[in-house]
Symmetry: C2
Subunit: 191 residues, 2 copies
Amino acid sequence: MALRHAVLAALLDGELSGYRLAKAFDLGVANFWHAQPQQLYAELTRLERDGLIAGREVVQENRPNKRLFRVTAPGLAELERFTSAPAKPSFIRDDLLVQVQAADHLAPGPLIQRLTERAGFARAKVALFEELLRTMRGGRTEEEFLRHGTRVGPYLTCSRGLAFERGNLDWCERTAALLRARASGGDPEAP
Amino acid sequence: MALRHAVLAALLDGELSGYRLAKAFDLGVANFWHAQPQQLYAELTRLERDGLIAGREVVQENRPNKRLFRVTAPGLAELERFTSAPAKPSFIRDDLLVQVQAADHLAPGPLIQRLTERAGFARAKVALFEELLRTMRGGRTEEEFLRHGTRVGPYLTCSRGLAFERGNLDWCERTAALLRARASGGDPEAP
DNA sequence: AGGCCCATGTAATCTGTTACATGATTCC
DNA sequence: GGAATCATGTAACAGATTACATGGGCCT
């Protein structure tokens, strides 16, 4: 039941519509949780019904009306309660790791292809997160920002996301290089 | 539908019972996929029904009989097919990141507690994975093993797991230190 | 005597994904 | 003219978790 809390956490930094929220939880940009729009609309309905968030209708011209949601006092209390209990351990569940696990029994070509694709994706996320962090800290150095800044939470989660994607990128590149070297039956140092 | 492939990949390195498989997919040790025993028993039934694995009954004394499963030729072909399509992007879904995301609006005490717990968990996994890698490469250096060893797949996925847990550990420690410093309203360099 | 290891499952529930549905506006 | 953006949902299905169920052997 942590999607609720992820939504609450995302709404702490300001009112959002379901649509905007969905953008933030999208695969390509999510840095602390991922979810589909359908899941978010459903969760918003439940959260409002339970009084943890409050929504207000915003009438718009030239585009559909929207509902903006903010966290209520009970919502914040629920987050506080959530943080007072141990977090479930996170775990790995990645198609690409499954594919590499079977590497010794499969043709290397497609696998190298998969690793290259993932490396590209990771590279894009690294660039995105670096830019995001730069924006958040403004003119300040990281040290200065982290010591005295307000709203360091999103910065910290984004940092973790960056490190994760850097790890992905590094591993994909090195693994692809290794498989290429082994496939050519030779020495990775050779041309 | 990737649990099937994770099970197939796990069975490539030798016959396993559902019970042993469940141990390998356990939270505390899994390095490329996680799943509950119930899920695995169900999946094994389906995989056998579909002819992708074959099981044989092993009668035991002093303990319950068991079924050992191995991958069949169609099973291997299915893995090959799986690897010929792009892997779904992996994503983050972690309670702890949700809690840190909300850090600016919550009491720091419990959060530091959560980060410390997770750091301990990560430390244990780092030690476990390091030991596992050492065992897999035997006497050889990593370079030598990766170039010429057989079964590098499990080694590579374990390497990724190790890097991930090191990243976790590092981030948890630095984040906890930062929150502690901010909570005491002071300079992190001070005693 | 109590608890853990081996070994396998069923059933109920919760969570997450995919497909379908609508409709105006703005950008290329 | 076609695609993308804004904006919100319903319905069906697949995947994952939790609770329940059983039972002997081994260790302290």
